[in-house]
Subunit: 160 residues, 4 copies
């Protein structure tokens, strides 16, 4: 079993820089999470972007789409900012024969209390056992692309 992880930024990878008194996107936490999770399968992490998902452009999404289209893996986990995760999922929906799972977190993985590890765990299981297609694993649930939105008021993902 092989999973290709592609990291694009978002809250999950945010760090705090005291010098600037602000948050920025830091190195991906995926390897740490898989290591703590004692994950024992083959994988590779491709760091594609380090962006807040509100700043992702059509060009960025195109780049992600083309990377997967040209690649021979069957299973993908994409870490992504939450605000436009469902838009990116829609853009990937035409990719056939691959199980693609987008996830991220509502609080940074570097926090003591974060949904990041739980969400990566969900995504890894989904990438293994779900039929080919595009999924979002957030808020304790596995949604199909096109049937999910972020409810910003309640800060959670729900059926669209």
């Amino acid at each position: 079993m092989f999973i290709r992880f592609i990291t694009t930024g978002g809250t999950i990878d945010k760090v705090y820089f005291d010098a600037l008194s602000q948050f920025e996107i830091g190195d991906s936490q995926v390897r740490h999470i898989l290591s703590d999770g004692l994950a024992d399968f083959d994988y590779e992490v491709v760091p594609l972007l380090q962006k807040d998902s509100l700043d992702m452009t059509d060009e960025d999404r195109g780049k992600l789409h083309d990377l997967i289209a040209a690649d021979d893996a069957e299973r993908y986990v994409i870490t992504h900012g939450t605000d436009t995760m469902s838009e990116t999922a829609d853009v990937l929906a035409d990719l056939e024969g691959k199980t693609i799972v987008l996830t991220g977190s509502l609080s940074p993985a570097r926090f003591k209390s974060s949904d990041a590890i739980f969400n990566i765990g969900m995504a890894v299981a989904t990438a293994q056992i779900a039929a080919p297609g595009v999924y979002i694993a957030m808020s304790g649930q596995v949604f199909r692309a096109g049937e999910v939105r972020k409810n910003r008021t309640e800060n959670k993902f729900e059926k669209a």
Copy 2:
């Protein structure tokens, strides 16, 4: 979507009692993990046992089997000690029409670095999307009951 969690003990729930300089099984960490994971679905936690899995008896496994057989839920996550997790999975294999996922952890959930949260994340996703059957979610992988064993030397789960 509703998941019934059944807790039986094991390393995942171990605490350390300084007074005795020893480890014992404490309250289940499942609720904390689901809360940190921002899981937004209906669930119930049934505390059935608090045992090291080496101490589980046929009677204990029978009790677990009967609880699920008599219950009307369709999705279950069972936290369990790792040493006899696959034996318990085998005992549940005849239960039809239900998706049952066993998980646990190799280091206690109360540790800073533990596979517990990751594993519960995997189990929750598997309970939602896998076909009816019995599964073990450990070592970053989702195994089918009857096709998995704990490799004690390398301290991981692998295909049997």
Copy 3:
């Protein structure tokens, strides 16, 4: 032994709000830290301000000064943003007969890896055993007010 804690904000209490994709100062972490630290002495926490220390005004410092001057405790720990911690220490220097320790952290207490707990531990010990005066406990060291500055380039406190 009694210590009065006064919280004024700063990085130590920062939380991340995904809805806004930004950091803000949240509830004080002092009680959690003392509870995790199994601290067994009498104390009270006074939440005075919730400010980045760059935003603290002379009026804010005057309020802090007057609160302590009018109070009958002998030992204080003040949590404070790091950028102007030494300025605030200077303003308190004329308060006699009291041991006053300022501390804070360079990364938020809510992070997995943070200097917050360590610094509060240092401050609590200093408040108990140091002679009356004003101190800053940061970067693993206990400095006297007037003899310390934040080195912004290296992001640490050092002798002035």
Copy 4:
């Protein structure tokens, strides 16, 4: 400022070995704690023993005593099991001209919630600012050797 750390084992350094379903004393957590605490001073860590303090012998205490007596540092932090920490403190009481602080923790440093970091923070501050003598930093307090005991029923340190 230089502090020599001497590690002797105890709960603070305990790890859990799933293979054996038991706890043992692992590598010292002192370096990790100082690193997370952003401690910026010179120090050295001497790993002397890896024992539960109930297993410490007179010979062990003699070895610790002689190590410090023959050494030219002025400040020491000793990590130690809690059950006989005060006995060891008594044995060191005749060492003059040195500030020696014993500390440890009631729950392992590897736990998410532990008094370990807080206690090391207290010990580091005490080693810097206390007059020469032997101290115990536990339960949020700095005690003098000879005036402190562990209350096993309430699992805390208190004035003897």
